[in-house]
Symmetry: C2
Subunit: 394 residues, 2 copies
């Protein structure tokens, strides 16, 4: 699927099976920059967070990184000091093979919460990543990140800066919590643009805010969420930041890659077969619009109604009303795509069949106008099916 | 089931079919006090709220009430000024038949959000409630409140005050949002105790806080939630308030009735077959304990794990961590009933079979100690099954 895709200049990657998952599934990946790269990171805000998240936060202060090393199958979360030692060892072993400082290695884990990392499999796995597999194995790398995602997720953008081609390539794995104990969204963004670490950090935070932070599968925030960006400058452009001519071009491409990956995650939400965009406009503030949109997107009753292709606007009104956003019932207007279902807080005369037609699609929008101000927000979500429950009961 | 139960002295009640629901199911109820009764009320905090909730809030200021009149099948929510007129008419018609002021009538509706009340059925229904049915029809009244609750819910307590028997009888309907568009929990408490309205209001608020506000089926807060209490003094005791000798006795009985009704609602949560008590202790404050307990109780991943009888403590850790309560990962301790699953934020050596035994019961507790202070809270909830989704997709 992604076999023909090349990495940005100066990057290599690999994905192999180290025997952490059963059945020979790929479970370790490496993303390596030939030269030290500027690094940026955004992490879960969960107070319970995995050891690799703690290590990444620490290593991020170093400002440059050589590689990201990842294992799937075990999250290395809730593993205490033993887990911290294991995450450090994973970084140190990778650094030894590359010949760099341990703090130039970012480590990520995804999978079951609780068990300790099996270093007896991880350490040989790191050697295998270098010895046998290092190249431009984009597909294998994306595969090795998967838990029970149904497909690998890669997004690429190319833009021209100073007359040179700059490439951005991002990997991601799903937020579906698809495997029991699984609660993880990961994404790695690589680029051969030359970007200073602070500009990269600020750009990444903004890009994440308008992409990964706009999606919701089931409202459960993970212990391992991590988005990392590496910029190695191998494209040969001058270093850019917010003041540079090429910045806008770069930033838009970065946002596009993050956005595409985020949409892929929603499309692969577990058990889901509908992609729903919740747009809120007319809120007193963007913050209020976000609260209202999230309330609608996370309502289990909305998600199950969508699963039933049932245009239940009463549940939308209800979930807008109990959000923490300021809402005046008599002003609320709701469209299903272009179909006006609610005006002044009451239903319109639109035939139910017209609304059923909208929610019978695999991709539709709920457009809400609170008519209170200028605040807007969009959240992307999916429906909740019996399959979701079946997946998560075991 | 409740046919043998008598109302508190001076109360009558009735439940009939007025033809609002299809198939002849009971859909109107009346709870009448012979004499004006002190009245207290607690309502949904949803900014989108039903017309009858607005009318009740208004009539509550009057301080005394003669009756509660209810319809099920239609919520009279999101119905604009036409809905307000209908709710007022429903009160006025009831007042006319009783011979009292309209503001002495509390009106409640539960059912589908959106449609207007069919006054051509409601008005004859009110007459039918008086003419044919008024008596001590406790079972029929509870039945007429139901939407797709699987059983009526009544709780009774009798206590001795000043050597006289004081009775408290409460009705409730489920929070299960069992019918499409349904998002309603209702409860009516009647007592022949003599209680001043302010004391009754304060007692009701406290009782609701430790009962109905402690339960969670699916986290969706309704447009119609209403708890009303009527105290008519027919038991012949002196009026009591917080300073009276009999107060403690009365208040405990009121709390017990509210608690039993709340537990009935959880037991009848739609699609649910497990009753789960989430206890949090050791929080920095009671408020923090509440946030942590609610986060655990509302997590879809916890609810589905319980449905699978799968003791997934990692999901508990995760949902405690992303709550807004202060949490220090390394201090968290979790017991499944008496079985210690997590200590210092990490799993214990307890065999998985022992935890499976706990979650295989129909009724068990998740006991969480944050080891940060003295704050405690308890939330009662249920599991989330495929049946929940099946019920709510249509």
């Amino acid at each position: 699927m992604y076999s023909e895709i090349h990495m940005p200049k100066g990057f290599k990657c690999a994905g192999i099976s180290a025997g952490i998952k059963s059945g020979g599934a790929k479970d370790m990946a490496l993303v390596l920059s030939d030269e030290p790269a500027a690094v940026a990171g955004v992490f879960t805000t969960n107070q319970v967070c995995a050891a690799p998240v703690k290590i990444c936060r620490e290593h991020l202060k170093h400002g440059v990184a050589h590689a990201i090393v990842l294992n799937s199958g075990i999250a290395n979360a809730c593993t205490g000091s033993e887990g911290m030692v294991a995450a450090r060892d994973m970084a140190a072993e990778t650094a030894k093979v590359i010949g760099c400082e341990p703090q130039e290695i970012m480590v990520c884990s995804t999978g079951r919460i609780g068990p300790q990392l099996p270093l007896d499999k991880i350490v040989p796995g790191i050697e295998k990543l270098f010895d046998a597999a290092l190249g431009e194995h984009v597909h294998e790398t994306a595969e090795a990140m998967m838990t029970t995602d149904t497909r690998p997720k890669v997004s690429v953008a190319e833009v021209q800066i100073e007359g040179r081609t700059v490439k951005i390539l991002g990997f991601a794995k799903g937020a579906g919590m698809i495997e029991p104990n699984m609660a993880t969204m990961l994404s790695f963004i690589t680029t051969d643009a030359a970007v200073g670490r602070h500009a990269l950090q600020s750009a990444l935070e903004k890009a994440v805010n308008s992409s990964f932070n706009r999606i919701s599968i089931d409202g459960d925030q993970s212990t391992n969420d991590t988005v990392l960006a590496l910029a190695n400058g191998a494209a040969g452009t001058h270093p850019i930041d917010e003041t540079s001519k090429g910045w806008k071009t770069f930033f838009h491409a970065l946002k596009a890659v993050c956005h595409e990956l985020a949409m892929m995650i929603v499309h692969d939400g577990e058990g889901a077969d509908k992609f729903v965009t919740v747009n809120v406009v007319g809120a007193q503030s963007d913050g209020d619009a976000n609260l209202a949109a999230r309330s609608v997107a996370n309502s289990l009753l909305n998600k199950t109604a969508w699963a039933g292709e049932y245009p239940n606007w009463g549940r939308i009104m209800d979930s807008v009303g109990y959000s923490k956003a300021k809402v005046t019932e008599e002003k609320v207007e709701i469209h299903y795509d272009e179909q006006q279902a609610v005006v002044c807080g009451m239903r319109t005369d639109i035939p139910q069949e017209d609304l059923i037609k909208v929610v019978s699609q695999t991709d539709f929008a709920i457009n809400i106008n609170l008519h209170l101000g200028e605040g807007t927000a969009t959240v992307y979500t999916c429906n909740c099916t019996e399959e979701y429950v079946r997946i998560n009961v075991t």
